[in-house]
């Protein structure tokens, strides 16, 4: 199982990663572990720009030949950008889950609670625990 967990990102229990992007927005994708578990992706649906999301709201779908999973918004906020390249090349998410395979950018509501997110080391132990 592939397990690349960059130390500069935050993580969720539902296997999303969160990056502090420039101008205060957060960039969100799914982890290397998640893409590897799903297998070759054939379709990725990202949320529309302008959509308001609640924390934990299902907002994107990643679909492989044999499975489809929802992606949940780690925090409440408004979608300010989405990765439209994925509609033509879903494999970007398999090849580069933390880079070209990003899903969307979120402008969080004031007072968004980042405390619930995990550090890389916490996510690593979480994965180890899940694997038991």
């Amino acid at each position: 199982m592939s397990n690349n967990i960059p130390s500069d990102l935050k993580y969720t229990k539902s296997h999303e990663w969160v990056r502090q992007a420039q101008n205060g927005a957060l960039e969100i994708g799914i982890t290397d572990h998640a893409q590897s578990a799903l297998g070759d992706l054939v379709f990725v649906e990202v949320p529309d720009v302008g959509r308001a999301l609640r924390e934990g709201e299902a907002c994107a779908v990643v679909e492989s030949v044999k499975a489809a999973s929802d992606v949940y918004s780690p925090l409440a906020g408004k979608v300010v950008a989405n990765n439209s390249a994925l509609s033509g090349k879903p494999e970007l998410l398999n090849e580069d889950p933390y880079g070209a395979g990003w899903l969307f950018r979120l402008e969080t509501s004031s007072g968004a609670n980042t405390a619930s997110l995990m550090s890389a080391s916490a996510y690593e132990s979480f994965l180890a625990e899940e694997a038991k």
Binding site: F43, D48, E63, S64, V65, K66, A68, D70
Partner: protein
Amino acid sequence: MAFIPHTPDDIARMLEVIGARSVEDLFDEIPAELRAGVLNVPAPLSEMEIARLMTERAAIDGRPLNFIGAGAYEHHIPAPVWAIATRGEFYSAYTPYQAEASQGTLQLIYEYQSMMCALTGMEVSNASLYDGASALAEACLMAVRSNRGSSSRRILMPRTVNPTYAQVAQAIAGNQDISFVPVDFDRTAGRTLLDALKPHGGQDFTALVVQQPNFFGSLEEVDALTDWAHENKIMLIAVVNPTSLALLKPPGEWGAVIGGARGADIVCGEGQALGVPLSSGGPYFGFMATRMHYVRQMPGRIVGGTVDMEGRPGFTLTLQAREQHIRRSKATSNICTNQGLMVTAATIYMSLLGPRGLEAVAQASMQRTHDLVSALSKVPGVKRAFTAPHFHEAVLLLDRPPAAILAALSRRGILGGLDLSERYPELGHAMLVCATETKFDADIDAYASALADVMSASRAAA
């Protein structure tokens, strides 16, 4: 593990492991008042007994001369259709498990989908749904998933849509927080009133349903309706009769190009007219087609063309990640079943007739209905209700309640039409009549003279 039922011992051991006292306990979450209790099922019958029972039941129907349509149509079914459909290679109600091992079945469904796309002018069709009414309910659910610009979950449902379909859509989609707003019709023309839509312009609606021909048999102004919907960012759900598409403009070409797209967004309907007998109401099949853009929101199975490892053409079930065996409760549908055998018959029917044959059926049905309406309107106390052009059905107005008239005709072996007075009290003494290519001049004459008799007897008795 042997494939045998659980013994009482097995059951007791399993219950013990999970800590349940009885199998009944497993259904605890279903409130007592919703349980069926004791089912009143009669004792089993032998093959001989059941054959006699069914023969007796069938005899009750008799061989009436039928002028009722209203969603199910009596068309001639060429003998090869069911001779081929019931061959062992085809004779199954379902898409097979291990579908790809049954390339012939998949190819047939693929051909069916291609034919439905050609008829409707759409880009992709599914492998069929349960029936026309539930296909409309599914189309409404699909529109709610697909129309990202709308959050209202409100759907405009004209009163010219088959009222049974509207009722089924309400029963299925209404429980998913979707509401239906009726749209009135023009009492003179017998089609949806464009002016009745105007007040809804600029508001958040998810979809507009348009049935063509509508429940009254009248032709709707589909271009204007489609454009109005698209100008207001409302999806257009077309409910169509597949036979009529041999003559009418396909829904994929309704209206103008607005926002880069043209025509209906979702097309659905009842497929029974394509080679499936009336058969006391079923089994029939529903169909659904859409644009590629919405394919992931479409319920039901889809067969795709592909190549095998050696590059040879083959067929496969595709986009299965939308379906319930993979997506579980988040599947595009959990009530969609495909009507494999009915689709087999329909595909053979369409193959045998071809585009010209289907057009001849549509032409003849339309002509027969025009002949019928003209013959019946000459009967004193009978007139046409609406002025809009019609396909193979029309509404007639009587000078007295249709119920007694239709009952008297039925005693003479004629099913004269469908009484509309309960569904549409504002129309008065209205009934819906239909004639397909199966009706000869003599049949129409027989109906007209029987109607004249029955009407005058009723007048004399009053």
